[in-house]
């Protein structure tokens, strides 16, 4: 617990450093408009990252999130184009997400296949389905209210997506840290055998994780469609890696059982501010990826090195 708290402190210090660097380097950084953009440009990934934290703490992984986002957006666009009213199309999109999640959960929780393999298949399969639905077209022309929801502030400058993110953040933080379900996720993630022997219904917990993950991803896919105003088969392609990066940088252990929402929140803020600062400093593309990749390696290295040093120190004392 002590080392965890240290990790969050480190993230916080890094965040402060990035924020002050941005503020001194760019005169465009401090401003309501820019902060809204900073969140808006990656808001869908941020929403998905919250649920991904649960999955990884539960010692699983969901690689299919970005494909589920794409699938949901394509289901919505396709059914809308076929004449369904948009609210119905959105419900169908969310339903498609839940089905995709239940499909993942069935193979993982009840058949016992590793989530890496199952959700990798999902990554390919759901994307394929999305592409079959919209083929090589772009579907747009949604009602104005839908595009406005994705692009304009709903309360002041705050967009619907940002508000959903904040609400989900609070909800998930409570769920993870102050509910029975949250404790079960930690138990399953730390030691699944022990959990099973002490009567935890592991399969149910895992089903909830994957259904939840896909449902949140589907919602994010619909929000993404609203923000861009049109839908293509390749929507959100590759987002899963950014999402997992954020969660790991937040101090969630890839081996499960460790991590918390504060860390994920700080990691999100750190990456968003870093990207925004680099963007305003006209640093784009590969250089941005390089910096964030380096940060991820550091996030794995630093705690290990710290542990090493601590062990050596103890050895010397003995």
């Amino acid at each position: 617990m002590n080392s965890l708290r240290r990790w969050e402190t480190l993230l916080f210090v890094l965040l402060l450093a990035v924020v002050s660097l941005n503020a001194t380097e760019s005169r465009y950084y401090l401003g309501v408009g820019n902060f809204i953009n900073l969140f808006q440009l990656s808001i869908e990934k941020s929403i998905v990252a919250l649920m991904m934290a649960f999955v990884i703490i539960g010692a699983e992984i969901d690689l299919s999130v970005a494909s589920v986002m794409g699938l949901a957006a394509c289901v919505m666009a396709y059914t809308f184009q076929q004449g369904a009213p948009l609210p119905l199309a959105i419900l169908l999109a969310l339903a498609a997400g839940v089905l995709a999640g239940l499909n993942n959960a069935f193979w993982i929780a009840y058949v016992g296949l590793p989530s890496l393999a199952v959700t990798l298949a999902g990554l390919i399969g759901y994307r394929g389905l999305a592409r079959i639905l919209v083929e090589d077209r772009a579907i747009g022309g949604f009602p104005l209210w839908f595009n406005a929801l994705g692009q304009q502030g709903l309360i002041g400058p705050l967009t619907l997506s940002i508000m959903i993110f904040v609400i989900l953040f609070v909800f998930f933080a409570v769920l993870l840290h102050a509910s029975a379900f949250g404790r079960l996720v930690y138990v399953v993630g730390s030691n699944v055998e022990a959990a099973r022997y002490s009567g935890v219904r592991v399969a149910r917990v895992k089903t909830a994780l994957f259904a939840g993950s896909a449902c949140v991803s589907a919602l994010a896919g619909v929000l993404y469609a609203a923000r861009l105003g049109s839908v293509r088969g390749d929507m959100a392609e590759g987002f899963e890696l950014d999402v997992i990066t954020t969660v790991l940088l937040g101090g969630v252990s890839i081996f499960g059982g460790k991590g918390n929402m504060v860390g994920v929140g700080l990691s999100l803020l750190l990456i968003l501010n870093l990207r925004n600062g680099m963007g305003l400093a006209d640093i784009t593309g590969n250089t941005q990826n390089y910096v964030i990749g380096g940060l991820l390696i550091l996030s794995v290295l630093v705690p290990n090195i710290y542990q090493d040093i601590q062990n050596k120190w103890k050895g010397r004392e003995r």
Partner: protein
């Protein structure tokens, strides 16, 4: 009057005289501080670097003190990356964004937000399909002409007896390639091309590896194929390499749009005897000049507006006949490359 003399005179008078240039006279006023972003589909391929070179040339001639920012996403992150760059440029309050659009209409909300802040959005190479959020599109050549040239080159390569061919394009939503393919389909209706049969259209996403495997797949799937037409500089090289690796160059030919320096070897060994292109340097130059004039108010984005673009002469803004709405500046012309002229152009 010589252009040189005019340039010198304008530069000399600029500091001495009050502003005499009136709006819409089509002459650029050099020396204005106009910050611009040149945004290609993605970074790392030669045509966009050439366009950058042309834009820098125009920037020097116009004595713009603001540095031109050449920013682009990675190919894997093209859509989200382009939106992010347009949004950040809007925050920075640049005067103009020069966009080769790879995001279809998904770029529209970001481009509209830029326009709402008074930023001129000039597309080049690839337009915004709906033209919303765009001031004007600087087109390389007439998209209808490209279709005809593609049909002609195909017929040249199959010979008068005709035969089967396929198209290897860039990404499925690349507005330019889609418009050219549509134009080619129209051209093919002419009785002259009756013996040509289009088997398939596949997409390599302008990634070398994917284009290479797509070309291989075409060769496997259609054993009677005679020509692969690739209207993208990435696809044409990848397809030519696939053909060479499969040792099929005596049976199947590659053609399309490519850069002489990248196609030299394949044109000389007979895999790609004939292909076409325009100058990306000129395209960058013209796009920059157009955006500079729009941003400084010497040109208005409306039908019929005329302007002088430095060494390239006079241009007129017209309606874009290839889209439902939208304005266009047409550059042209085409160059067809073969073994006689490819070597000189590759230098």
């Amino acid at each position: 009057m010589s252009k040189l003399l005019m340039g010198v005179a304008a530069a000399a008078l600029l500091t001495l005289l009050p502003q005499v240039a009136t709006a819409d006279d089509g002459m650029a006023t050099p020396g204005k501080d106009v910050s611009m972003v040149l945004l290609p589909k993605f970074l790392g391929i030669l045509p966009f670097d050439q366009a950058h070179k042309g834009a820098e040339e125009a920037a020097q001639e116009l004595k713009n003190p603001a540095k031109l920012q050449f920013l682009g996403p990675t190919p894997q992150n093209s859509v989200a990356g382009q939106i992010e760059i347009v949004t950040n440029a809007t925050t920075q309050g640049v005067k103009a964004i020069l966009l080769s659009n790879n995001s279809g209409d998904q770029i529209v909300p970001a481009a509209k937000a830029a326009q709402a802040k008074g930023i001129k959005v000039v597309t080049w190479d690839s337009p915004i399909p709906s033209s919303e959020g765009e001031d004007v599109f600087v087109a390389q050549v007439d998209f209808g002409d490209i279709g005809k040239v593609m049909a002609d080159m195909t017929l040249n390569l199959t010979g008068p007896e005709g035969g089967e061919f396929a198209i290897l394009s860039a990404s499925p939503d690349a507005a330019n390639q889609n418009a050219w393919i549509a134009a080619m389909k129209v051209a093919l209706k002419d009785a002259k091309y009756a013996k040509l049969k289009l088997d398939d259209i596949v997409y390599g996403n302008d990634e070398s590896e994917k284009s290479y495997t797509q070309a291989q797949a075409l060769l496997d799937k259609y054993p009677k194929i005679k020509v692969i037409m690739a209207p993208t500089s990435v696809g044409i090289v990848a397809a030519a390499k696939a053909l060479q690796d499969e040792k099929l160059c005596d049976k199947v030919k590659i053609s399309g749009l490519g850069l002489p320096s990248e196609m030299l070897a394949y044109t000389k060994n007979g895999c790609a005897p004939e292909f076409a292109l325009w100058s990306f340097v000129d395209l960058g130059y013209l796009a920059y000049t157009t955006a500079y004039q729009l941003a400084t108010g010497t040109l208005e984005a409306k039908e019929g507006a005329k302007f002088k673009a430095g060494r390239m002469g006079e241009f007129t803004i017209t309606k874009d006949p290839t889209r439902a709405k939208g304005l266009r500046v047409l550059m042209g012309p085409f160059t067809i490359y073969n073994k006689d002229n490819v070597e000189a152009a590759a230098k």
